[in-house]
């Protein structure tokens, strides 16, 4: 975090860029040492008992307290076998607890049937997004293959570890101990529950589950109980990892990445059909049969930001959009082999859905992933989107940024080439959108350690106000939640 370290990293980046220009990934791999970023998709062998993190920069603001929960795959290889895709490793849930200026870290694998079976067999055998079934695979239901590795949410005092193809796993929010899977209603056992729930003003939470041309729309009450669950028909069999919502609408982006056939691993049955364009399905929350469809040029995506509706009925939201799904199809699988497939990074883009049926894309022009925003404004008009950016010569980003849709300007902090930056989340401070902190983690390759950082969301360029370092590196996470 020191300026010296950043400058050194910056100079190193210059040389790395020059080298990359003349060395192809394949050439670089042949006989070369594994790339340093491979630590981001490394294996963790055991749960991490609660331990102190060392304050290495600044200090926590007085009175700041809360828990940052994060989830991501952290076990990919057993014996001679390996998961075939970044999305298929075992979920390791991490709790970063800040209290009284100190930070403590606990990490525990979600105790899933998949993990138990594979530990017993000493092999990765359960199929997934990009992993074929291996000898001894057991696939009787969606709990058997649930990797519980994608996100987390708080629901009624319980921490849920989210995946997208099955039920969430229930965890003790203090000890992170697994308590089994959450079945919201007996007849909804094994139904898919995705990893991107959307807050509704007032406390309800919506989520989706996808199965071909059908989806289930979940609505949970503020206490985590089920309010309703409805099966909805989709106009096409698009794959989607995330949806969004205004206060009154569910917004489902139907990219032309189509579930053509049922095969294992699942990604092999998904075809990119750009000639179909991208559709946006808008449903009224109060009457899911009331629907509108908007047409857009084709793009691929994993992540969206919260949506809002303006007084004239215009709906806006943003997302990290890419030209095609090559990352999910190929590059994210190659990561586990230490290969970096270079490709254009997703671009932060706003979608505008007009009341007259027209739709348009407004690209911000900046590379972006893992969008997040002030959850007090979920479903309401908002201005800011936080996101990671600055990928440069590794497959992972190096900076955290805040895009301002009103001014069209961005503020950011670049952690340097030696830091792989994960999703940062907003933690409120005072009233008004964006008045608060961004809290998140990085993997410091130079220090071989995971770090926790707190930045002032309104002064990002100043860098972290406090940074804590763990005693060891943990692989990169996907998504998290902050609980004050």
């Amino acid at each position: 975090m020191t300026p010296t370290l950043d400058r050194r990293a910056f100079l190193a980046a210059g040389f790395a860029a020059a080298a990359a220009a003349i060395v192809t990934p394949e050439m670089a791999l042949a006989g070369a040492a594994p790339p340093a970023w491979l630590l981001g998709v490394g294996d963790v062998e055991a749960d991490l008992p609660e331990q102190a993190m060392r304050l290495v920069h600044g200090r926590a603001p007085a009175g700041f307290a809360g828990r940052l929960y994060r989830n991501g795959p952290a076990k990919f290889r057993r014996g001679g076998s390996a998961a075939g895709h970044w999305f298929d490793g075992d979920g390791l849930v991490r709790k970063f607890e800040v209290q009284g200026g100190r930070a403590r870290l606990t990490a525990r694998f979600v105790d899933t049937p998949k993990r138990r079976l594979e530990a017993r067999l000493g092999a990765m055998v359960q199929p997934g997004f990009g992993t074929p079934p291996g000898p001894g695979a057991r696939i009787a239901n969606t709990e058997d293959v649930n990797a519980a590795n994608t996100g987390v949410m708080m629901a009624g005092g319980e921490l849920l570890a989210l995946w997208e193809g099955g039920s969430p796993a229930r965890l003790d929010p203090a000890s992170l101990e697994t308590r089994g899977f959450r079945t919201f209603r007996p007849d909804l056992r094994y139904m898919p529950f995705q990893a991107h729930p959307r807050d509704e003003p007032g406390g309800a939470v919506w989520n989706m589950g996808l199965s071909g041309a059908q989806a289930i729309a979940w609505k949970l009450n503020g206490d985590g109980s089920l309010a309703r669950a409805d099966v909805i028909e989709l106009p096409r069999r698009s794959y989607f990892h995330d949806f969004t919502a205004t206060a009154r609408h569910l917004v489902i982006v139907l990219q032309p990445w189509i579930n053509e056939s049922f095969r294992l691993p699942l990604a092999t049955g998904m075809l990119w059909r750009p000639e179909l364009g991208t559709q946006v399905l808008v449903l009224d929350k109060d009457d899911l049969s009331r629907r509108r469809i908007f047409e857009l040029p084709s793009f691929a995506f994993f992540h969206l930001g919260d949506a809002w509706e303006e007084s004239d009925g215009t709906i806006r939201f943003d997302g990290a959009f890419e030209a095609d799904p090559s990352f999910g199809q190929r590059a994210a699988a190659a990561l586990l082999r230490g290969e970096h497939h270079r490709m254009p990074h997703p671009i932060l883009t706003q979608v505008v859905l007009r009341p007259d049926g027209r739709a348009e894309l407004l690209p911000a022009g900046v590379a972006a992933e893992f969008p997040s925003s002030d959850r007090r404004f979920s479903g309401l008009a908002r201005r800011y989107t936080n996101h990671v950016t600055h990928y440069r010569d590794t497959p992972f980003p190096h900076a955290i940024a805040r895009w301002d849709w009103q001014s069209g300007r961005e503020t950011l902090f670049d952690f340097g080439d030696h830091q792989l930056v994960e999703e940062f989340l907003f933690a409120p401070r005072g009233g008004g959108e964006g008045n608060g902190w961004l809290i998140g983690t990085t993997l410091n390759l130079a220090r071989n350690a995971t770090e926790l950082h707190l930045l002032d969301a309104e002064r990002l360029a100043a860098g972290p106000v406090a940074s804590w370092r763990a005693a060891l590196p943990l692989p990169l996470t996907f998504h998290g939640t902050f609980a004050a």
């Binding site: 997934g128 997004f129 079934p133 695979a137 057991r138 696939i139 009787a140 239901n141 969606t142 293959v145 995946w163 997208e164 193809g165 099955g166 007996p186 007849d187 909804l188 056992r189 094994y190 139904m191 898919p192 589950g209 996808l210 199965s211 071909g212 059908q214 289930i216 099966v231 794959y239 989607f240 579930n259 049922f262 095969r263 294992l264 699942l266 049955g269 998904m270």
Partner: protein
């Protein structure tokens, strides 16, 4: 993982759901060999309610096309249930079964078609996203009394 639910649903429904609805095939012609009887002992039943729905098959084709030679509904007693078949010609047989917890005679599924009532095949055979195969589930029935245990999970 959107497709998974459909993989599971499609495969299972072809295998186990219509057990109760299937009329048994005509009784086999009187066997020339001494007949066999089969006691199926179901164990590990999680909830002491409902019935175990059992279908018995005597050929790979019957197994594949879901044409059982016999079906029976066995009452659950505690964590176990027992089903008896007699007058069977010796040979190779396979069993598909599920725990009909709510007693409605059908294998319960969620809205996307994934079975939500426990099921099991003979030999402890397990399918991968679908019913087990005949080769894994088939066992030999000899003349006289036979006993086969199936853990329902």
């Amino acid at each position: 993982m959107p497709n998974l639910t459909q993989v599971l649903a499609a495969a299972f429904l072809a295998g186990a759901a219509p057990l109760a609805a299937q009329p048994p095939a005509p009784a086999p012609s009187p066997a020339t060999a001494a007949p066999a009887s089969l006691t199926l002992a179901f164990t590990g039943i999680a909830r002491p309610e409902g019935f175990v729905m059992v279908a018995l098959f005597d050929s790979e084709a019957g197994w594949r096309e879901n044409r059982p030679v016999r079906t029976v509904r066995a009452a659950v007693a505690g964590a176990s249930a027992q089903a008896l078949f007699d007058g069977l010609p010796p040979g190779r047989y396979g069993v598909k079964s599920f725990h009909d917890m709510d007693g409605d005679g059908r294998m319960g599924t969620n809205p996307f078609g994934i079975p939500i009532e426990p099921f099991a095949f003979s030999n402890g055979a397990r399918g991968a996203a679908g019913p087990a195969g005949w080769a894994e589930a088939a066992f030999e029935l000899r003349a006289g009394a036979n006993r086969h245990a199936i853990a329902i999970q």
